[in-house]
């Protein structure tokens, strides 16, 4: 004979996992996320790649700037010499012959005055910046040439110095990927937040449905309320874990596939890399870093997700047991919702100084730890004992919250009518069953 918690766990898990909604959400959510991030970039890229734009007429009063401007403009900005009057040019722009016309006064070469670009349509932040830089570079080069500045000085002016960040580790120094890891930490922190919140809501809704359909009366005439609560929380947690692991595998697969796929679009020659260079070398030369997620980080992310979920889910269940409709739960939700939100408010602080006192202390507070400890672990090397200690505190707190929650729950499921105040809810903890 099986234990009631196991029977409830199995039923809660199976009835959710095999639903169409779950399968679709699990498979489509990553596609949706990628689309959300990738599509704007793709669209911007397509908009910039407007080589079919109309040419730009240039009124070059100096008569010396146009050729080098044309050379610089390339395919993207096609500059042509203006042959008509200004009025006629304006008409041509309106008629769509030119996308605009650019006036370069002769005084530019004396370092005075400014160029003016006339066009019919506004918009295009990137276009503005590119135009600005094209004209600036062209004028600067021409003036340097006019002054017969030595080539050495010209190259000094053209150069810019960059700083490479490297991180010292026990294994020697390596490329510092703070930015990449901040991004990873950010994504992981938000993933845990949303996962805890959404799966917690599932638990709450499950409890409310059971109560408002009154089927709970039959169930608790068969098993202890605690067993029902525990089976439900664990069953939905297992569903969440399946979903998270599926997504993790999909992301890992996508990252593994990203390199070879990108290679198809990159011509090694254009980055001065040998055609037979390794994938890393080419991508590195192209300035593309494909983040690699350490397995231990994924492991701890899953563990902290699980801990955080259990901690909060039991509280969501307690709130759910007190009401008959989801809407009535709103006011009782704040004590659960606010601790979950606080870590998000300090994300910036932790990213800036992951080993600072505030970050360290916050990452040991059980209600915040699931989000903040994972963020810290992504950003910096957190000692294993710290991870274990913080997670153990989360686990211990779960024992406390499930105890409190089950005491509220076993009273709440029999309470119908007006939803209780928070004060009443807390008083239920002291009730005898």
């Amino acid at each position: 004979m099986h234990h009631p918690i196991w029977i409830i766990f199995k039923s809660e898990f199976l009835r959710r996992v095999r639903s169409k909604a779950f399968i679709l959400a699990t498979l489509l959510a990553p596609v949706g996320m990628v689309a959300l991030f990738a599509l704007p970039a793709v669209f911007t890229f397509m908009a910039l790649d407007g080589s079919d734009d109309e040419p730009i007429a240039v009124v070059d009063e100096s008569n010396r700037l146009l050729p080098s401007l044309q050379a610089r403009g390339g395919e993207r900005f096609r500059f042509v010499e203006a042959t008509a009057s200004r009025e006629a040019l304006a008409d041509s722009v309106h008629a769509g012959v030119y996308s605009g016309y650019l006036v370069l006064p002769e005084t530019l070469l004396q370092g005075e005055g400014q160029a003016v670009f006339y066009r019919a349509e506004g918009g295009g932040v990137t276009t503005q910046a590119r135009m600005q830089s094209l004209v600036n570079q062209t004028v600067q080069d021409q003036r340097l040439a006019d002054e017969e500045v030595p080539a050495a000085i010209e190259s000094i002016l053209a150069s810019s110095t960059s700083v490479e960040m490297r991180r010292l580790t026990e294994a020697g120094d390596q490329a510092d990927q703070t930015f990449v890891y901040s991004l990873i930490g950010y994504v992981l922190a938000f993933t845990i937040y949303f996962a805890v919140f959404i799966y917690g809501q599932y638990v709450m809704q499950g409890v409310i449905e059971e109560k408002s359909s009154r089927v709970v009366e039959i169930v608790v005439s068969s098993v202890r309320p605690f067993q029902l609560l525990m089976g439900k929380v664990l069953g939905i947690g297992a569903m969440g874990l399946v979903q998270m692991i599926t997504w993790g595998v999909l992301v890992a697969g996508a990252l593994a596939a990203a390199g070879p796929v990108l290679m198809l679009f990159i011509d090694p020659a254009s980055y001065n890399v040998a055609p037979d260079a390794s994938q890393e070398a080419v991508l590195d030369a192209a300035g593309i870093t494909i983040p690699s997620l350490p397995l231990s980080l994924l492991f701890w992310t899953l563990l902290f997700f699980l801990g955080g979920y259990l901690l909060y889910a039991s509280l969501f269940a307690a709130v759910g047991s007190a009401v008959e409709r989801v809407q009535d739960a709103q006011s009782l939700m704040y004590p659960v919702f606010i601790p979950l939100l606080i870590p998000l408010l300090v994300l910036g602080v932790v990213i800036e100084d992951p080993n600072g006192t505030l970050s360290t202390v916050l990452s040991f507070i059980p209600l915040f730890a699931p989000i903040l400890m994972v963020l810290r672990a992504a950003l910096t090397d957190v000692a294993t004992w710290e991870l274990i200690a913080s997670w153990s505190l989360v686990a211990l707190s779960f024992v406390a919250t499930i105890w409190i929650a089950s005491r509220i729950y076993r009273v709440g499921i029999f309470m119908y009518g007006k939803p209780p105040s928070l004060r009443e809810l807390l008083r239920w903890i002291t009730y005898r069953p």
Binding site: E217, I218, V220, S222, F414, R432
Partner: protein, 312 residues
């Protein structure tokens, strides 16, 4: 089969004393009706019997042992407010509820099939519960109560909301369960249903038992103090009888009246008054009072006693 004993049980919720020193016994092979108006403490008492709550004082024993998870497995409970998991399929739902009662999956599946067939519902097994009509859901609910072959059955307001076909079905089930010597408890505020089905009654009011015993004995104890008349003609004589303080009329329609004799009025006096007034008399009977009258009597008495003690 075994006896259920509720022994000096108390239960308080906050400031409300829901159950105050309640005792009664339910014997196997008999149906005990627990009666009382809403708020009398019936459901609170049932929750202690089902081990959903625990008495503050006193004890509930079944088969000689205090109730607990072990007795829950032998218990079939049809709650007043009924409900099922809406999005589970019927078969799956029943098998799950059966497993919660400690049945093995195979056993639960076989019993589910048996009962679905018996209720001519085998075709619904793969339907979602909320696709069923209300009457069909009620049948599924009965099956959930009986699936694990319980020896102790509790029906809380079992007929409320049932369509006539399911009412008859449930009545047949309850009588069949009684023949099998099971212990059956039936809570209701509908007196006429209790009169039809119960062997024993336990009247509750304000958290206390005000009357307990075998239904027949209780009725005899109150004597044949009730008259039923059926007639054709003017019914004004009924008002005169009542105005004179000779009777109190419980139910009255154009051609029929049921009344209680008061102040030593003899049945014959009522017969004479009736014959004088009506065109035709076709029914005259002296009977025991209906349970609803006994209830009003007993509860009215306790309430007035209470009022006196408060005044004192």
């Amino acid at each position: 089969m075994a006896t259920l004993i509720v022994d000096h049980v108390h239960k308080t919720y906050g400031d409300t004393k829901a159950v105050n020193d309640v005792s009664f016994t339910a014997e196997p092979g008999r149906i005990l009706g627990v009666l009382g108006p809403n708020g009398a403490g019936k459901t609170s008492t049932i929750r202690m019997i089902t081990n959903m709550t625990i008495p503050d004082a006193g004890s509930v024993t079944y088969d000689g042992r205090t109730v607990g998870p072990w007795s829950q497995r032998r218990l079939g409970y049809l709650p007043e407010e009924r409900g099922l998991y809406k999005d589970l399929r019927v078969r799956e739902q029943l098998v799950y509820l059966g497993q919660l009662k400690g049945m093995h999956q195979k056993e639960a599946e076989a019993r589910t099939q048996h009962w679905l067939e018996r209720f001519e519902a085998a075709g619904w097994g793969d339907m979602k519960t909320d696709e069923l009509s209300k009457g069909m859901q009620q049948k599924v609910q009965f099956i959930a109560t009986l699936l694990h072959d319980p020896s102790l059955l509790i029906f809380d307001e079992p007929f409320s909301g049932l369509d006539p076909i399911n009412s008859d079905l449930l009545r047949d089930i309850i009588l069949e369960l009684r023949r099998d010597d099971r212990t059956i408890l039936f809570a209701s505020h509908r007196m006429e249903q209790v009169e039809q089905l119960c062997d024993d009654i336990c009247l509750m009011a304000k958290g206390q038992v005000v009357l307990e015993g075998a239904l027949r004995e209780i009725k005899q104890q109150f004597g044949k103090n009730t008259i039923i008349v059926g007639f054709e003609g003017d019914d004004a004589f009924l008002d005169q009888l009542e105005a004179a303080g000779a009777v109190r009329i419980h139910t009255r329609s154009t051609h029929r009246a049921e009344m209680r004799l008061l102040n030593g009025t003899s049945p014959r006096a009522v017969l004479n008054a009736t014959l004088e007034a009506v065109d035709e008399l076709h029914h005259f009977e002296r009977v025991e009072p209906p349970l609803s009258e006994i209830f009003v009597d007993v509860v009215g008495r306790t309430q007035s006693e209470e009022r006196t003690s408060v005044a004192a």
